[in-house]
Amino acid sequence: MSWQPSASLPALHQRAILYRLIRAFFAERDILELDVPLLSEYATVDPFINSIEATVMSHPHYLQTSPEFYLKRFLAAYPQDVYYLGKAFRDDEKGQRHSPEFTMLEWYRVGWDEQSLIEEVRQLLVLFFPDMPWCLMSYREVFQTYLSLDPHSATSDELRQCAYQYIETSFDSDDKNAWLDLLFTHCIEPKLPNGIVGIYDYPATQAALARVDVDSSGQQVAKRFEIYIDQIELANGYWELADPNEQERRFNQDQEYRALNQLPVLPYDQALVDALKEGQFPDCAGVALGIDRLLMCYLKKASIGEVISFR
């Protein structure tokens, strides 16, 4: 292993400049920068994210996988716009575009919905990509465009059959979301148009921490969005779920999924549920954006190691 930095000196300068531009963007809008702990007594319950465990004073702790829960506890105490720019950690995620330790920008807008936040993400990206084309499509539209399927009405079996036309898999599954994720990553992402693409109205079963609503066709959808640049997933946002009972129900549902799939079942963040119950958590929209990937796109680097100081 080389002792030298993995990113070049110009790339490291660009990272510093990018931090300055981002902080200026939020300062202009009077959004508070909040530093939150990296160590928590709670792990994530998201079945597809693995927390890194750390022992502190002989007690199990976890490196945060996202600043989300701390930011939401802050919002419940002080309902005002807030952002975080710093590290997050996810075990087992390593590849050209993934590193177990990475830099995340996450911000919340009080009183906004996901569509207005998508527009603000666009304004931020325009700072770095002034001439890039921009397009907005629903999750249903991308499936109809690239696979001639309606992702909401298609059955698990129809999705499986479609997937087998393009992909050889080692597994079978009755879980509709597994097939949607497989088709999305293998058959849709690589075909997305160049430039900035926003995708919204995800299946209600993929709501994560977004509220669920009905679209103009009467379909139940999650008020969640993703932003892509040149086929690279860059940001994920929600019109945030504010209902503490629904939040608790989703935590328990994730825990059940974990138990059923032999994944570790770790303590979920009771403090977040309490904050939603007892605090004044506002109607708000929030988004998390991968800073390392933003730099990769900006500097046209193929590997995340080329934009991280040491890998």
Partner: protein, 189 residues
């Protein structure tokens, strides 16, 4: 054999897939913003040489394949098998045509090669990147023609036919790149 999880997959790892020993060539981690992560894996079936593409759910595992590379000495060919010897144990291993394939062209007696054993039998052989072989037959050399001129075919003692510069003659020893089958230089003796 041990089991390997997708996050331990890396190029060169030998695993069993559909009952066949495979060498992992590439492992790409893909994940939608939220939800199931996958590993898109390219593997070479070591029995057939064919490349497979397979998508795994992250966290799945495969059994390791009992495939090991050994440095051995090439002994001789009896018309059916090529014989290789482990220089430490002196054990001899016969390799068939399937295992040797086109590489017979680069086998010189007493030379070191890498023999890949699967469950103790030769599965493939890998000659050194550069070998020195004698020209068995070629058109007479053109004296003084050492400039960047044309080439002519030459048959080597192993039966390989390669392109060589015009100035070389029968009986000369040359260096060849076994990966490309290209002439490199005269042997430095």
């Amino acid at each position: 054999m041990a089991n390997y999880s997708t996050n331990e997959f890396r190029s060169g790892l030998k695993v069993m897939l559909d009952g066949e020993p495979c060498n992992i060539l590439e492992n790409e981690y893909v994940k939608p913003g939220k939800g199931q992560a996958f590993n898109r894996v390219k593997l070479r079936n070591l029995n057939t040489g064919r490349v497979w593409e397979r998508t795994f759910k992250s966290g799945e595992s495969l059994e390791g394949a009992d495939v090991m590379d050994h440095d051995m000495e090439y002994l001789y060919n009896d018309g059916e098998f090529w014989y290789f010897m482990d220089p430490v144990t002196f054990e001899q291993f016969p390799a068939d045509e399937k295992a040797v394939g086109e590489n017979y062209k680069w086998l010189k007696e007493q030379e070191q090669v890498v023999v890949t054993l699967y469950n103790g039998s030769p599965l493939a052989i890998t000659p050194p990147n550069h070998v020195e072989l004698e020209i068995a037959e070629t058109d007479p050399g053109l004296k003084g023609d050492t400039a960047n001129g044309g080439t002519k075919p030459a048959t080597l003692v192993t039966g390989a036919v390669i392109k060589v510069p015009l100035f070389l003659s029968t009986g000369e020893v040359i260096r060849v790149d076994t990966r490309t089958g290209e002439y490199l230089s005269r042997a430095k003796d």
